[in-house]
């Protein structure tokens, strides 16, 4: 067959329709573009900048990018994109609206604070005259091998963590703004893959760190598969992956049915099964029971700054995506998903609170605490009212700063083996380092939801929304769980302040201004949102409308 014949086959088989070039609203996508762009620049820096200067250049690029992206978010919000000008951009792939901008702002600020803890280099003792951070000298070297020793001696550092963090943040920015299922999936992968890597990069206890990364990767891949399968089923049901399109089919307002999909379209079984799988993929990311089991292991194994970042920012992004999915795509299915989510919220709150009681490691304790908090936030999600949305937004903002701050404090308490995370070593910390212990007590009280901390304002907001949304029983269980959870938070405070210090207890390292900033911001936000939450509640209230 000649070349021309082939050509004619192509042309006859598929009459060419004109393909429009996609229109991209670059201005509205600016925050994401800045962050992803900076990440790409970071890769260049790894390749071209000398080893000694890399740390500083990377930090500069990262901080500038995050600040600029945050400024862009503020600019968009000020330009009315959070309310009147809210719109769907990038050919229907991404929504720029109130919740998206609120969550992006939160993620960027949390990310900025977390990056400060990434950059901390004064906590570990110097190795061969070089300042070291929490990350391994050379990720590729086998733990305990000669190669590793050589890398340490050479003063290598893993400055790749900065571009990795930027990629993760970039994915997280898209995740709650994603307006079709494929964008959702891609955003998920874009932020998950760097996180898997980051988890494996701990300087100490490297085997544990790598184990946690592998577990996270395996289970994450498993859940991604479910999510993807769910997307396929929902596509089969709706014939589109766009949120608005699916919602139209669910509501039964769609006009023309694609003949190729006539067999499956409108088949509710596909929708329900697919929807459940979509939910599962997102519930995995927020750490809801029974998809939570990766959380304690990964939180414990990952480098603590990464844990703080992940616990705060991932949760914000994933809850944002969950909210959009439930409120934009599936509102017509409210009577189907609400009872199921009730069940998930209840077991998540209870299991998180109960299992935390017997934890002996502070990082695992905080992991279970984060599971319980996921349950509390789910209570607000279930409210299915505008108040529910804004209360969840507020809670996420409040919770993320407490989390980053708390994990930053964990990095300070150290003994010869690095961070002293076993609770028994925290006994009497209040005597030895009253300030650090007091700051940590503030964070614990915020986790427990004691008034005058942001934890109380947030919990009150979500429980109020849930009760008004008709989920009174859920609130009762939430309060009971809070009471159970209060036990182990207060127990740590009691341990710190009312126990005798152990003779060979850990010391509290004096951090650089970087970690101090992270902790200071955490305390400030915790107290401001606790004492005068109204402005931020109003802000979240104004941001609480999804564009469709």
């Amino acid at each position: 067959m000649s070349a021309s014949a082939v050509h004619s086959l192509w042309t006859t088989a598929a009459p060419i329709e004109k393909i429009d070039a996609p229109t991209i609203e670059y201005a509205q996508l600016l925050p994401t573009l800045i962050v992803i762009g900076a990440a790409v620049v970071g890769i260049g820096v790894e390749a071209f900048v000398g080893r000694k200067a890399r740390y500083y250049v990377q930090m500069f690029v990262t901080v500038v990018a995050l600040v600029a992206a945050f400024a862009a978010v503020i600019g968009l919000a000020a330009g009315g994109h959070a309310s009147t000008e809210a719109q769907i951009v990038a050919m229907g792939a991404i929504a720029v609206d109130g919740p998206a901008l609120f969550l992006q702002g939160t993620i960027l600020l949390t990310g900025l604070v977390a990056v400060f803890t990434f950059a901390e280099r004064r906590l570990d003792p110097q190795a061969h005259g070089n300042q070291v951070d929490s990350f391994t000298a050379q990720a590729a070297s086998v733990p305990g091998s000669d190669g590793e020793k050589a890398a340490i001696k050479a003063g290598f550092t893993t400055t790749e963590v900065f571009p990795l963090a930027l990629f993760a943040i970039g994915g997280m920015l898209v995740f709650p703004a994603a307006n079709d299922l494929l964008t959702l999936f891609i955003a998920l992968e874009v932020f998950s893959l760097p996180l898997y890597l980051l988890c494996a990069l701990a300087r100490r206890k490297r085997l544990m760190s790598q184990e946690s990364a592998v577990k996270y990767f395996l289970l994450g891949a498993f859940s991604s598969a479910f999510l993807l399968f769910g997307i396929a089923l929902v596509y089969g049901y709706a014939g589109t992956v766009s949120y608005a399109g699916i919602a139209d089919v669910v509501d039964g307002t769609v006009q023309n049915i694609d003949p190729a999909l006539a067999d499956t379209m409108g088949n509710d079984a596909l929708l329900l099964v697919g929807g459940a799988m979509l939910l599962m993929g997102l519930l995995f990311k927020v750490g809801a029971v029974p998809f939570h089991m990766w959380t304690p292991d990964v939180y414990q194994g990952a480098p603590t700054p990464v844990t703080g970042f992940m616990a705060a920012a991932t949760k914000v992004a994933a809850f944002g995506a969950l909210l959009r999915l439930l409120y934009v795509v599936l509102p017509g299915l409210r009577w189907d998903w609400r009872p199921v989510m009730w069940g998930v919220a209840i077991v998540t709150m209870l299991l998180g609170a109960i299992v935390a009681i017997t934890q002996t490691d502070i990082k695992r304790l905080l992991a279970y605490s984060s599971i319980a908090h996921a349950g509390f936030i789910l209570a607000g999600v279930i409210a299915a009212t505008p108040d529910g949305i804004s209360s969840v937004l507020f809670y996420l903002g409040a919770y993320s700063f407490v989390t980053v701050g708390a994990f930053a404090v964990v990095t300070l308490v150290r003994d010869a083996g690095g961070e002293a995370t076993h609770l028994s070593k925290w006994a009497g910390l209040g005597r030895r380092s009253p300030l650090v212990a007091a700051v940590f007590a503030v964070f614990l009280l915020a986790f427990a939801g004691i008034p005058l901390t942001s934890g109380f304002s947030g919990k009150f907001a979500v429980f109020k929304a849930a009760a008004e949304g008709g989920a009174g029983a859920l609130v009762v269980i939430g309060v009971i769980s809070s009471a159970i959870a209060a036990f182990f938070y207060i127990r740590v405070i009691v341990l710190m302040f009312f126990s005798e210090p152990k003779p060979e207890g850990p010391t509290v390292a004096v951090p650089s201004p970087l970690t101090m900033t992270a902790i200071g911001v955490g305390v400030a936000v915790t107290l401001v949102l606790g004492v005068a939450p109204q402005y931020f509640l109003d802000l979240a209230g104004q941001a609480g409308v999804f564009v469709r």
Binding site: F226, V273, M280, M293, V340
Partner: protein, 632 residues
């Protein structure tokens, strides 16, 4: 003129604030500041009184509204004052006697290093007591009521280094709480019944309210009065309250605070008039207490405790009169005022004696003091004659009227009973007061050196102490006669308390005559028992009644058996319930969750495969549940 009313309270309140916050730099001038402000308050009172006299009887009441205290929808409480004839009487008594006692305390407390604080407390008391009597609503009255309770507590326990004083203060406070509870519940009932606390609306609308509710409120008010005025069954604190410095006993525990119960009942007259059952209870309480206090007074060797018994008994008379309704209110208040004079004078006299006797209070160690302290002797003696109701002196005029009114309770047996009790009380009063008089001022001198060898050197007290005593003695002699002249006191109070002439079951001259006979009998009996033969320095064993009376007629034993033991049993059983059941549930819950936690964490076994299974199972359940929701 009404704008001056707040000054009455403001002056002593300012004094209290300055003295209590001023610190040591006021140690040398504090007592002058306190006295000055008390006198200033008295001056304002006199000014207002003069103004009031210039108006005709129906337009004398003044009203001042200061500010809205608790402005809530459906709940209005104002800080507002009402100064009518009844309040005016109290204001003059409180500030007048109060000022005198301030002056007296300058000398009496001269050697006490905490004198400034003492005057601060005294001023605080004056402020609270004035607030109590000029409040125009029950809620503000309650503030004053609690305020005087606080001041009383602080002053009884002023010498807190003495365990007995600290205990006595605590006892007074606790017993008063019982009464205060009555008042607070009464105020709550008033609010639910009338929707307001103000005297005017409450007292005017008693006609539209059920008698049952009024009886309940009346009984609760009586409970409050019993606490504050040391009436049976809440009388036990007054004897112990004598642990406080003597000026305190004179001012608070004789002349003013303990009469607050009489004020409360008189002020709430409209409620009691409409609730005869509550009135009967008031009369019974008064009658029982007047005998109770008198009997206790007969057996006490401690001069202040004897006088305390007498106070209890005399307030019993007032309560009795107040329970008689419009035939008694005016006489209750009249006796209250005359009693304020002579009892304060008697206490100051007792303080003067103690001052000269190294703070000895046991009358068996006095004797023959009239030669050493002539001024004290004469003033105390006039007070004595006044209290026993010697014809012509203050007590005669007021007490005789109460006895008359008691005989007029009704035409039948009750009139005889209550009249008889009041008459009997007069006889016992004459007996125990004569006993006090003889043991203190007559007979042989019985004092001895104490353990450290200091023999008392009885001497007359300084001018600052004797002058108030002399002033009070004048009141003791003339006040009653002055008030009774042309029935001026009754007419003065009539617009507030109403007045009806009593119609006793026997004729008035017969009552007066028998009163005089009874008091002569009592005095003569005391003379025979204590004047004719030497008084033993150690008390004889005495009869069963004497021994019981020495123990305050077993009031503390009764309280101990009934209340303390009962309370202990109750708390013990509550503690048992708390430990076994409440703690059991709590600890059991905690242990349950702990065990659950331990079991559940085993699921977290560290194997990624198990986690994957959990996720798979979870997804399956999620899908199944979603489909199930659609199916049902």
């Amino acid at each position: 003129m009404e704008n001056l009313i707040a000054l009455l309270v403001a002056a002593p309140l300012l004094g209290a604030a300055v003295l209590l916050c001023g610190g040591r730099r006021l140690d040398r001038s504090g007592h002058w500041i306190g006295t000055l402000l008390a006198v200033a308050s008295f001056a304002v009172g006199v000014l207002l009184f003069a103004d009031m006299l210039g108006k005709d009887a129906e337009h004398r009441a003044l009203h001042q509204s200061l500010f809205s205290w608790i402005p809530v929808e459906g709940f209005q409480a104002d800080v507002a004052f009402q100064l009518d004839q009844l309040s005016m009487t109290f204001v003059l008594l409180i500030t007048g006697v109060g000022s005198l006692i301030h002056v007296y305390s300058i000398g009496y407390m001269e050697h006490d290093e905490r004198r400034r604080r003492f005057f601060g407390y005294l001023n605080l008391f004056l402020a609270a007591m004035l607030l109590l009597v000029i409040a125009d609503n029950y809620l503000l009255l309650y503030v004053g009521w609690e305020g005087v309770g606080l001041a009383s507590y602080l002053l009884i326990g002023f010498w807190q280094h003495k365990p007995s004083a600290a205990t006595a203060a605590k006892k007074a406070f606790l017993v008063n709480r019982v009464g205060d509870m009555g008042l607070s519940i009464a105020i709550m009932l008033m609010f639910t019944t009338f929707g307001t606390f103000a005297f005017g609306p409450v007292l005017e609308s008693t006609g539209e309210t059920s008698e049952g509710m009024l009886t309940a409120i009346g009984l609760l008010l009586l409970l409050a009065a019993c606490g504050k005025s040391a009436q049976v069954p809440l009388q036990s604190w007054l004897g112990d309250a004598m642990e406080g410095p003597t000026p305190v006993s004179a001012l608070i525990h004789a002349a003013t605070m303990v009469t607050a119960g009489v004020y409360l009942i008189t002020r709430s007259g409209a409620i009691f008039n409409a609730a005869p059952d509550a009135q009967l209870a008031v009369v019974i309480v008064g009658a029982v207490t007047l005998l109770f206090g008198a009997i206790v007074g007969c057996a006490k060797d401690d001069i202040k405790k004897a006088l305390a018994g007498s106070t209890m008994s005399q307030i019993g008379y007032m309560i009795l009169a107040a329970g008689l309704g419009p035939i008694g209110y005016a006489f209750a208040i009249m006796h209250l005022v005359t009693h304020g004079f002579f009892k304060a004078g008697l206490f100051l006299g007792a303080g003067s004696v103690m001052h000269g006797m190294n703070d000895e209070v046991d009358m068996r160690k006095y004797g023959g003091l009239r030669k050493y302290m002539p001024v004290t002797f004469v003033t105390f003696g006039l007070g004595y004659l006044a209290i026993i109701g010697f014809p012509g002196l203050s007590g005669f005029w007021s007490k005789d009227k109460i006895i008359e009114a008691a005989f007029a309770y009704d035409d039948g047996i009750r009139g005889w009973i209550f009249g008889g009790v009041a008459l009997l009380g007069a006889g016992i009063t004459a007996f125990y007061m004569t006993r006090v008089m003889i043991m203190t001022f007559f007979g042989e001198k019985r004092w001895q050196p104490d353990e450290s060898g200091n023999e008392p050197h009885p001497h007359e007290s300084p001018k600052s102490m004797t002058i108030p005593m002399i002033v009070l003695a004048f009141g003791s002699v003339f006040a009653g006669g002055l008030f009774s002249l042309n029935e001026s006191f009754v007419k003065w109070l009539e617009p507030v308390t109403q007045f009806e002439h009593p119609h006793p079951v026997i004729s008035v001259p017969a009552i007066t005559a028998s009163t005089v006979v009874v008091l002569l009998l009592g005095a003569a009996l005391a003379y025979v028992m204590y004047g004719r033969k030497p008084v033993p320095v150690t008390a004889p064993r005495g009869s069963l009644l004497t021994r019981a009376a020495r123990r305050d007629l077993l009031q503390d034993d009764l309280n101990h058996v009934v209340l303390v033991r009962g309370g202990e049993h109750l708390t013990r059983s509550l503690v048992y319930v708390d430990h076994t059941m409440v703690d059991g549930v709590v600890n059991g819950t905690a242990a349950g969750f702990g065990g659950l936690s331990g079991r559940m964490r085993k699921m977290q076994n560290g194997f990624a495969r198990s986690y994957a299974v959990s996720m798979f199972g979870g997804t399956a359940i999620l899908i199944a549940a979603t489909l199930l929701m659609r199916a049902v």
